[in-house]
């Protein structure tokens, strides 16, 4: 979680923000000190592709799809993690940036099943990326070892988000990590034991932050396998969790007359997008005939 956000929520103090000015694609942009280049791009109205970034997690800058060109820097820099400094001159659509983003998309698309990743096709079109020219994606099997969610390893791009949500950024359960190294790196529990045998408490916050749908609600998985998953027919209803007094904001994704998924908005001041096992998965009673 980013420090400025935490301060904003906890303290009644008014923070006096110093503004700094950076140049993005030739235009001057003023942002509060401590902002990232991604924040500055957003302020300038530039749509930057991101995958491993989430507003409610510490940036890990692992996917490199958000790289931008910074005058004076030898290599490109990740917009999501690089703090804006006064008088930085940044290019977000130069030849180098376009070519790097294109290649990152191709490397990802050639090794991971990105078919369920929002915007991936749009970005591929924008940067003229053709992943198939580098190889064919992984065929790793889906692990179904519990009733609540599945792990589709063919879709895992190792963005580290689930590890962060399970760990110090939200849940502090530390049930999953990146194990192994290089091409053999993999999200795993200790010795790859099943989730019910691990420290997992099934809060589902890993599912909530997964950008590629590698982590999926069990119900969504079943519907997809049956060919019945139909996002266009789903409605999303905002409500408050009925279980305890915290008052977490829930978004109920309903297909037909069934709740198929529950999320919480990452900008919610109550949840920061994170829920517990009850709020995330405990809605089976709505279909109890008794």
């Amino acid at each position: 979680m980013r420090e400025d956000k935490r301060r904003g929520r906890d303290g009644g103090l008014v923070q006096i923000e110093r503004m700094i000015e950076v140049t993005i694609d030739g235009a001057k942009v003023r942002v509060p000190e401590g902002s990232t280049l991604l924040d500055a791009c957003k302020k300038r109205g530039i749509d930057t592709p991101t995958l491993c970034f989430a507003p409610n997690l510490t940036p890990v800058n692992a996917c490199r799809v958000c790289v931008v060109e910074l005058d004076g820097a030898r290599a490109l820099v990740p917009a999501c993690a690089r703090t804006a400094e006064p008088s930085m001159v940044v290019h977000t659509d130069s030849e180098r940036v376009r070519s790097a983003r294109k290649m990152v998309l191709e490397l990802l698309g050639s090794s991971v099943d990105m078919s369920a990743t929002p915007n991936f096709d749009v970005w591929c079109a924008r940067y003229d990326a053709h992943p198939e020219r580098l190889g064919t994606p992984s065929r790793a099997p889906t692990v179904v070892d519990n009733d609540l969610f599945v792990r589709d390893y063919a879709k895992c791009m190792l963005c580290y988000k689930c590890v962060e949500a399970c760990g110090a950024d939200a849940q502090h359960t530390f049930a999953i990590v990146v194990s192994g190294r290089g091409a053999h790196a993999k999200i795993a529990t200790e010795f790859d034991v099943s989730l019910p045998d691990s420290a997992c408490v099934f809060c589902g916050n890993c599912v909530g932050v997964c950008p590629t749908n590698a982590l999926q609600f069990r119900r969504e998985h079943e519907l997809r396998v049956a060919g019945e998953w139909d996002e266009s027919s789903q409605s999303v209803t905002k409500t408050v969790c009925p279980y305890c007094g915290v008052g977490c904001v829930l978004e109920l994704h309903v297909q037909g007359d069934e709740i198929v998924k529950v999320t919480s908005p990452s900008d919610s001041s109550v949840t920061d997008g994170m829920l517990c096992v009850k709020g995330r998965f405990g809605w089976g009673y709505t279909r109890d005939a008794k």
């Binding site: 692992a62 993690a81 790097a100 091409a183 795993a188 200790e190 010795f191």
Partner: protein
């Protein structure tokens, strides 16, 4: 934090090994996280592998989640999370050892001992990335675990010897006499190697040891920083960053707690100079770090030696103990009031930990994944404190600057590449070894010293796997930072691997591509996937089976090279295609161009068996 663990109880032995490793922390509520690698190493050596029950016990004792302990353990290749044999032979399969015949050894071990990686009784063997024993390759590291664990770095003279050693035979090869073949009076960094007893502090002091520290104390920290700046010493680890700038940045940091780290994770294929310094002149590194501590105001230092260097680690450990016993580490060093102490840490087998921020992560007990920079270590380094991190040779050179002054240091070398530099010559030469040269002398002069047969040189790999290839007709290149940059090459770590006309360039490239695929940490997409794609491409060129046409393959290599250079997090990914790309640029390796334009010179792409031995080809 949930320390949930489902694993069975540790065995008596596992418990004893872990408890012994953590002895010094008996009364402490929280054992520092940075003890994790030392403990994992103790379990690996004491029990042969990191079992679920042993890691469960480590997790409970250290209050580190079980999954995290597993994540760290599975990162380092000298740690194994599967049962393994009591004796494991790690056979060097990197560039020089391949040129010296490790392939035949590999085949013989597969036939007569076990398939790679499989435990058969007491026997097991693995291919290993460069072991840093290039001057006496083919080399191996033999690790025996149990009650009385041992590690031996050896050279293998024949496939038969390799089989016999894998089966438990005793190696007769001498593993640690470092030979210097140059006249002593030309040497600065190597002047004690082979003539001063590395196990004796008295011998070190009798040969001018600790004169540098005394001089630093007499002249003051500011003087040291100024001299180092004026000496224009550039880092010798590979990146060539000005050492004086680093030292001054740490010195001017107002923080109270600062740290010194010696990067002795020398893993660049073809590089072994730091090993020679650590093995044969360990007190010099201790003295250099003490000087650094004095100059920048740090009173704690760490020496991080790669896991594959048992002799260096043992000698440095012993040297630290001796220095401490004689008051040369600890409180009030040499009556100056300086307080400084050192700790030795060993790597677990990971090339990436030579990257400075990955090394810091590793000391802290984590996976060796590089950090985003900025912040740079001089501002926020080990344990978040301002940290001076220098390569072994850089520290040794800095000590030389302090000892003789900047002017004397700059008297050798060129204007932009001052001083002398160590070069590790290996491969097809008569006298492989470390050579110390004033910068500015040519590659030809270096190769002449090492006894290269000039008429047969096909290629020289300069700077290691992250370096660049030169052709046999480019060896008049002066060895300086500026001249190598001019021809888009690099001195890198000082590795110089000579490849004669008997070798297949494509075999050499396959080895390098495999190396990076094996050593990428996996954190960022360009490097994790890119190293695999480059390896696949090299295999296709080698097999002459393109995916699409050759023009597309050329474009692919260009695109992979540029995204890895531009968008990887760290230097590993940024340089991983450098050698491969330089080979395709400088040699006639594309099969289509080959056949069309140059029907006679099929040499480079043919397997060695079919290669005509052409004398005087170049």
């Amino acid at each position: 934090m949930d320390l949930h663990s489902t694993h069975e109880q540790p065995t008596e032995r596992e418990r004893a090994v872990v408890d012994r490793a953590l002895e010094g922390f008996a009364g402490e509520a929280q054992i520092p996280r940075d003890q994790l690698l030392p403990v994992l190493r103790a379990v690996q050596m004491g029990c042969g592998w990191l079992s679920p029950s042993s890691l469960g016990y480590v997790s409970a004792r250290m209050h580190i989640p079980a999954a995290e302990v597993y994540g760290v353990a599975s990162f380092y290749h000298l740690f194994t999370t599967r049962p393994s044999a009591r004796r494991v032979l790690h056979l060097c399969d990197d560039i020089t050892c391949r040129l010296r015949g490790s392939g035949a050894i590999k085949n013989r071990l597969s036939e007569q001992c076990a398939p790679e990686g499989e435990a058969r009784g007491d026997v097991q063997w693995h291919r290993s990335p460069c072991l840093g024993l290039c001057e006496r390759g083919p080399a191996a590291l033999v690790v025996e675990s149990g009650e009385h664990p041992s590690e031996r770095a050896i050279s293998l003279r024949s496939p038969e010897e390799a089989v016999s050693i894998a089966l438990g035979g005793v190696s007769t090869s001498v593993a640690s006499n470092n030979l210097v073949r140059q006249p002593r009076e030309q040497l600065r960094l190597l002047r004690r190697v082979g003539v001063v007893d590395p196990s004796s502090l008295d011998a070190y002091r009798a040969s001018g040891g600790y004169d540098g520290l005394r001089r630093a104390h007499a002249k003051g920290a500011q003087w040291v920083l100024r001299e180092l700046g004026e000496a224009r010493l550039l880092g010798r680890g590979g990146a060539g960053f000005p050492a004086g700038t680093k030292w001054s940045a740490v010195a001017s940091n107002p923080a109270r707690d600062k740290l010194i780290v010696c990067n002795a994770d020398e893993s660049e294929p073809g590089t072994f100079k730091d090993r020679v310094l650590l093995e044969s002149d360990p007190f010099a590194i201790i003295e250099a770090m003490t000087v650094a501590g004095f100059a920048v105001g740090a009173n704690k230092g760490y020496v991080y030696i790669r896991g594959e260097y048992p002799v260096a680690a043992e000698r440095v450990e012993r040297a630290i103990a001796q220095a401490r016993a004689k008051g040369l580490l600890g409180e009030d060093i040499l009556g100056s009031g300086q307080r400084f102490d050192l700790e030795l840490r060993r790597g677990g087998g990971a090339y990436i930990c030579g990257e400075e921020t990955a090394l810091l992560e590793s000391i802290e007990g984590r996976r060796g994944e590089p950090r985003a920079k900025p912040p740079f270590p001089v501002h926020e380094g080990l344990f978040g404190k301002p940290t001076l991190i220098n390569n072994v040779e850089t520290l040794a050179s800095a000590l030389d600057v302090v000892l003789r002054g900047a002017a004397a240091f700059c008297a050798r070398g060129t204007k932009d590449s001052t001083g002398t530099r160590l070069f590790c010559v290996s491969g097809h030469v008569a006298n492989p070894g470390v050579y110390e040269l004033a910068m500015g002398l040519s590659l030809r002069e270096l190769l002449a010293l090492a006894g290269a047969e000039f008429s047969r040189i096909q290629a020289v790999l300069l700077g290691g796997a992250a370096g660049t290839f030169l052709r046999g007709d480019e060896i008049d290149l002066p060895l300086t930072f500026e001249d190598t940059r001019r021809v888009r090459a690099t001195l890198g770590s000082g590795a110089v691997v000579v490849i004669d006309d008997s070798a297949s360039m494509m075999d050499v490239l396959r080895g390098l591509a495999w190396f990076f695929r094996h050593e990428s940490c996996g954190q960022c997409v360009p490097c994790r996937v890119g190293t695999v794609r480059v390896d696949e491409l090299v295999q296709r060129v080698r097999a002459k089976v393109p995916m699409g046409g050759w023009e597309q393959e050329r474009q692919r290599l260009k695109d992979l090279g540029s995204v890895m250079r531009d968008a990887s997090i760290c230097g590993l990914g940024q340089t991983a295609t450098s050698a491969v790309e330089s080979a395709f640029e400088r040699f006639d390796l594309w099969p289509d161009r080959h056949a069309k334009n140059n029907p006679e010179s099929g040499r480079s792409s043919l397997p060695p068996a079919a290669t005509p031995k052409k004398k005087g080809a170049r």
